[in-house]
């Protein structure tokens, strides 16, 4: 009854979106390869990539961004799983709304949260002073604006732990209500049933959430801008600063930096895809 041609028509918006995304990526990489017709640059060259990849500042920025992304993804995944387990065990509608709140709050606002709580004159430092733990503001550990990036990671955790929990919840509830309870009925302790049945079967969703967070934190701009160190800057912040350089011939360097962000993200997603396929096979009991 339903015609194939109508189906293709329905896919036009998706095709347009996909084309826009691919064109955007192609534009960035082309300028990174030094093809900027507006500036009279026509010949592709890898000179800009080579220059960027051997630049010490760039490598420092890269390691800052990788560290922020990895810490945010890993810690959010672990703590988010714990939160998810709690939600699945004690099902309260208010709690469900509660964990959805941070997903709604924009990153800039989360940055302000982090500053008011964790800066050296923030609420925690004031509490520490009131309890006599520190003598002055400078005694409180410097968490924000440092190359270790803890301020940025804390802000991502506030937003992404609930995201992991919410993202995994449907799967975990269905697994624990069926196979998890079966294991408990057969005599497994709740803890054992969680770690041997519910957790492994929920792992695909947790890992997917972790990947989304990694990519987001790796390419994110606002939080490292507002909470990160000035030297070295996170990669997207450094790349945008290079883009703003009034010397227009520097433009291809900026675009080469954005290209590296793009290529590493795609590579990361590809690796994750391979790993996920391996995991699925193991969950299916090693069948090819």
């Amino acid at each position: 009854m339903r015609k194939r041609s109508t189906g293709f028509l329905l896919l036009l918006p998706l095709a347009a979106i996909t084309l826009l995304v691919l064109a955007a990526c192609a534009h960035v990489v082309a300028q990174g390869l030094g093809v900027v017709p507006a500036f009279g640059l026509e010949e592709p060259t890898i000179a800009y990539f080579a220059a960027v990849l051997t630049d010490g500042d760039f490598l420092a920025s890269l390691s800052v961004s990788l560290r922020i992304a990895a810490l945010s993804a890993l810690l959010s995944a672990v703590l988010g799983t714990a939160l998810c387990a709690a939600l699945a065990a004690w099902r309260r509608r208010w709690a469900l709304y509660l964990v959805r709140l941070p997903i709604l709050v924009p990153h800039a606002v989360v940055a302000l949260f982090t500053i008011t709580l964790f800066s050296q004159t923030g609420l925690l430092a004031r509490l520490a002073w009131a309890m006599g733990l520190i003598g002055e503001a400078g005694d409180f550990p410097q968490l924000l604006y440092t190359p270790q990036g803890w301020g940025v990671v804390l802000a991502y955790l506030w937003k992404e732990i609930p995201f992991v929990a919410y993202f995994t919840l449907a799967l975990m509830v269905s697994v624990s209500a069926t196979l998890g309870e079966a294991a408990e009925n057969l005599g497994a302790s709740p803890l054992r049933s969680f770690f041997t049945v519910t957790l492994p079967l929920s792992l695909p969703a947790i890992a997917k959430a972790g990947l989304i967070i990694f990519l987001f934190a790796f390419g994110g701009y606002e939080l490292p801008l507002l909470l990160g160190a000035t030297v070295p800057k996170a990669l997207p912040v450094a790349a945008y600063q290079a883009y703003l350089d009034p010397e227009l011939t520097r433009r291809p360097y900026a675009m080469a930096m954005f290209s590296v962000i793009l290529l590493l993200s795609v590579a990361m997603a590809g690796l994750w895809g391979l790993a996920a396929r391996g995991l699925e096979r193991r969950l299916e009991g090693g069948r090819p």
């Binding site: 339903r2 189906g7 960035v28 709690a86 430092a125 507002l226 795609v266």
Partner: protein, 267 residues
Amino acid sequence: MRRRPFSRLVLALTATAILLPALVLVVWSLAGRWPWPELLPERWSLRTARELFFGSASLPRLLLSSTLLAGGTALLSTAAALLTARAAALYPIPGKGLVRFCGLLPLLIPGTVFAMGIHLTLLRLGLTDTAAGVLLVHVVAAAPYAMAIMEDVTAAVGGGLEEQAAVLGAPPLRAFCSASLPQLLPGILSSMSMAFTISYSQYFSTLIVGGGRVRTLALVLVPYIQGGDRSLASVYAVAFTAWALAVFFLFECLIRRREKGGDGTWN
């Protein structure tokens, strides 16, 4: 009924961690003077509230532009997602795996890179520094979330009822509107709610493509935070967040009215 000390503890900690910063922000926005190391402000003041409504970055205009942009994004990305989901679920087309992949593709591309690239594309189309260009970029950013939601919902509703209506002689649009649409509505609303949030929070893409001409709340908030006037930054952040929550709960009310009662898993 087992007691669940672990779950209660985790949820209590979570509730504190989520609500405390919001409370601190409200206090900051009303603080006239709050020097170190006081735990509460020394003086309270409505200076920031006056600035919020009558200052240079007037709130009503910013709210209007942010809401129109986010509302447009919600409509367009959900419509695109609905069409895609129906094509994949109900029509005999080849390459459904590719369709799913393309739907999620914008998630894999870092938002900063996409914004830089689309800026170059839109320059050629003459759409930079316009609301239309910003809208387009927000739609692409929100699309994967809308697609994921609509894919699930469309697959769950299926096409059976609609086909029966068609067999009984209803024209296709009528069959869709009276048979499938009511069942799809909760999903459509949650997709719109999600897309609204994504657009409402966009900063970098609005900055690059809008070129500062398209002003949203997210755009003006960042300089306030960088500026260091904590009370002023807080009052904008509170207004910004309160409006996001208001819209979210409006959508939730609509969804729950449609669903009537829910599934009983949650109490």
